[in-house]
Symmetry: C2
Subunit: 404 residues, 2 copies
C-alpha cells in the first residue's frame, strides 16, 4: 500500500511536550516549588447541576426498553437542534434552518473533517499565530506545499497578526479559497466587530471563497458591539461555515459536543456545500450520544443558561485579573475582554521561550510561548483564565513582584 | 473555492429511504396492518445495569471540582485501554500494546477516517455485497474511478460473495492495496475461520497490502473455531488494522464508543501506520467522553460481561428462530450462527425488491433487500435478530404460513 506522504511533512507537536518536560525538570530540581499552571486551554469548573441532572435522566432512559435509544439521527436530535436555532441564532435575529445545523463530537473534529468536502487544489489562508489544527489538517490534505526556512508553508497565504494591526489581519492581496478565521481568537484573545468581519465577508463573496469561522469562544464575549455569530454580518450565509462548541462555553471539553452551521445558500456553482457536508457526516460519522445531546440541551434551559454564565463569569474574572495585573507589571496586553485568553508582549530582546524559562524560574508560573502558535507569535506569551481564582491571584502577585 | 468533485459521483443512499417509503405507503393503504420490522441493524435492548450505574457514577464525578474531567486523552483513558488489552486480547492469547489501541466514537468513523492515512493511489478491494461505508468513503477519497453500467466502480477490485463460494470470497488475482474484510459479515452473517483468514494474511504480507478488518460483530460468535480477532491469525500484525465497536456487543449504538487497533509492526517502508493514525487522531479528533469511556469499562466487569452476554444471547436466539423458521419454510439460509444477521435466497426469478414487496404484502414483515448491499446481493434478503423475541416469533410464523 501507499501511505499519504503529506503526513511525513508534519513535525511532531513539541509545544506542550516541551512545556511538560521543562516543568518536570524544574520540579525535580526544586521539589518544594508551588507551580501554577496557566498555560492550559481546558476548563476546570464542574458541570452545571442542570447538565448533571440531564445526564442522569438520559442515562435512566437508556435503562428501559420503552425509552431506550439506538443510533442517534446523523445530524443530531431535534430537541437539541431546535434549542440551538432558537437561543444561539433566532435571539440574535439570525435565521438558521434546522437542516443547516450539524451536531458533532467536537469543533476540532469538524474544523479538521470539513476539508473532506473541498478539493486539494484550494489556496488556504491562515492567521499567524493560529490554532495549529487548521494548519496541520491542510498539510495532511496536501494543500500546504513545503515548509520554508522561516517556518511557513509555501502554498499557504499567511495573515500576519501583530502589534501593528492590533492582531486583526488585513485582507490579502492574493485570492484565498479557504479562509480560517477564529474570533474571539485563540491565542490572542481578540474579538472582531461587525465592520471588520464585513470586509472578510465581502472579500469572500467577491472571490467565491469560503470563510471557516471558528466561534468556539463566543460565550466569552462581553461587549455589545461584538457579534457572536458571523451570520450577524450581512452576506455571510453565502460564504461562511461556522463552528461552535459546548467545550469552552458550557465546560464540555470532557463531554464532547459541538455543532457546525453550513448554510444552504453557500454554494460552489450549483452544488450546495450543505448537501456535501450532510453526505460526509452521514457516511463517516454516526451521530452524537443521546445522553450527551440531552446534556447539551440542558445548557439552554433557564437555569442551565444562568449556571453556564456563572462559570464563564468565573473564567472571565480570572482573565481580567491576569490582564490588569500584567498591565500593572508594565506589560503590553491584548485579549481578556471577550476571551479567556490573555496575550502579552515579552520583555524586549527575549524570545517567547526565553521568557517561559525566566517566568518559571522567577515565579513558578507556567504559560504558553506565543511562538508555539506560529512564527508571528514570537515575542508574545499566552496565559489563560481557566485556572482557579485563588491560584490566578497568587500567580499575578508573583508576576508583579518579580519585576521583569 | 473548489469542492471535492468525487462527492458528486455518489448517489444518494436510497435503500432505507425507499424501504421507509414503501412501508409508509403500505401502512396508509392498510391502516390495521401489524407491521414487524426486522430490517434494522440497530439494537433494541436497554443498556445493562452495570453500564447504567457507571454512567451515573461518572456523571457525578463531573459535578465536583475535585473529580471533574476536562479533555480526555486523545487515544483514550488508560482504564478502558487496559480493560480492552486484557479481556479482548490477552484472554485470547493476543498481545496488543496500550499504544496500539485507539478509542473512538464509532467504527463507522474509524473505517471512514482511516482512509486519511493512505494515498489516493491505492487499489481498493471490496466484498460484494458489502457495508456501503467502505465503498462510499473510498469514492469520496477519489479511489473509485467511475460507476459502470453494472453498478460497480471501475477501479475497485470486487470480491464476489455468492452461493458458490458460501459467501467467502476468494483471493483476487490482482494486487489489492487496501482490502476491506468484515467477519462476522454484514450483511451475510457468515464468520471466517482461521484457515480462511490465514490466506488473506499471507496474501497481504506478500503484496504489502493492508487488511482493514471490521470485527464489529465478534461478540456474536458462538463457535470455538472462529477467531474473534484477526490477530489470532499468525502474521496479521504486519498487515491488518482491526475495528471493534461496543455498538452491537454492548448495545452502545446510542452511546457511541468503539476502538481501532493499529499494530506498531504494521509498516509501509520505514513508516509505522500506528504513528500516522496517532497523528491523524491527535489532529482531527479530541477523544471520547469520559462518561462514555467509564460506561464502556463497565462492560468488562464480571457483572457487566454477564449482562452483555445476556443481551447478545437474546439477539442470537432471535436470529436462530428466524434462520430455522426460514429453513422450515423452504428457504436456503446463511448466517445466524455467529451473527445477528440471517441471509437467505429469495424464490427463483424474483429480485430482492420483488420479494420485499411480496413479503410486505403477504406477511407485513419488513426486511432488507440484498441488492441494497451491492450488485452481488441481488436475489438475496437480510433479516436481523435485533427485534423483540415476541415479534420475531410472530414474524416467523407469518412467513411459514405464507408459503412463498
Amino acid at each position: 500500500m501507499k501511505i499519504n506522504e503529506n503526513f511525513l511533512k508534519l513535525q511532531s507537536s513539541y509545544l506542550f511536550s516541551t512545556i511538560g518536560k521543562k516543568v518536570g525538570e524544574y520540579s525535580a530540581a526544586n521539589p518544594k516549588a508551588q507551580i501554577i499552571r496557566l498555560g492550559i486551554g481546558d476548563v476546570t469548573r464542574p458541570l452545571p447541576s442542570e447538565v448533571i441532572d440531564s445526564l442522569h435522566k438520559a442515562a435512566d432512559e437508556m435503562a428501559n426498553e420503552e425509552t431506550f435509544r439506538g443510533y442517534p439521527p446523523e445530524q443530531g436530535n431535534d430537541f437539541l437542534i431546535s434549542s440551538i436555532k432558537e437561543y444561539d441564532y433566532k435571539l440574535r435575529d439570525v435565521n438558521i434552518d434546522e437542516d443547516e445545523i450539524f451536531i458533532s463530537d467536537g469543533a476540532k473534529s469538524d474544523t479538521g473533517n470539513i476539508g473532506d468536502i473541498f478539493s486539494q487544489d484550494n489556496a488556504v489562508a491562515v492567521c499567524d499565530p493560529i490554532y495549529p489544527v487548521y494548519v496541520d489538517t491542510n498539510v495532511m490534505a496536501g494543500r500546504s506545499g513545503e515548509l520554508t526556512n522561516e517556518g511557513k508553508w509555501s502554498k499557504f497565504i499567511y495573515l500576519d497578526c501583530n502589534q501593528e494591526n492590533d492582531f486583526f489581519p488585513g485582507i490579502p492581496k492574493e485570492k484565498a479559497d479557504l479562509i480560517y478565521l477564529c474570533f474571539p481568537n485563540n491565542p490572542t484573545g481578540m474579538a472582531a466587530d461587525k465592520a471588520y468581519l464585513k470586509k472578510w465577508v465581502d472579500y469572500a463573496n467577491e472571490n467565491s471563497s469560503v470563510i471557516l469561522y471558528d466561534a468556539a469562544y463566543e460565550g466569552f464575549i462581553t461587549q455589545d458591539n461584538i457579534p457572536h455569530s458571523i451570520y450577524e454580518v450581512q452576506g455571510a450565509k453565502t460564504c461562511a461555515i461556522e463552528f461552535r462548541s459546548f467545550s469552552k462555553t458550557a465546560g464540555f471539553t470532557g463531554v464532547r459536543c459541538a455543532y457546525t452551521i453550513v448554510p444552504k445558500e453557500l454554494k460552489c456553482g450549483d452544488v450546495s456545500l450543505n448537501s456535501l457536508w450532510a453526505r460526509r457526516q452521514a457516511t463517516k460519522f454516526n451521530g452524537v450520544s443521546y445522553i450527551t445531546q440531552r446534556a447539551a440541551q440542558a445548557v439552554y434551559s433557564e437555569k442551565g443558561r444562568a449556571q453556564v454564565m456563572g462559570n464563564i463569569a468565573y473564567y472571565q474574572n480570572n482573565a481580567k485579573v491576569i490582564s490588569e495585573g500584567l498591565k500593572e507589571a508594565g506589560f503590553k496586553v491584548w485579549g481578556a475582554v471577550n476571551s479567556p485568553y490573555v496575550w502579552f508582549k515579552v520583555p524586549q530582546k527575549m524570545t517567547s521561550w526565553d521568557f517561559f524559562d525566566l517566568m518559571l524560574e522567577k515565579t513558578q508560573v507556567v504559560g504558553t510561548p506565543g511562538s508555539g502558535f506560529g512564527p508571528a507569535g514570537e515575542g508574545y506569551f499566552r496565559l489563560t483564565g481557566f485556572g482557579s481564582s485563588a491560584k490566578t491571584l497568587e500567580a499575578v502577585d508573583r508576576i508583579k513582584n518579580a519585576r521583569f
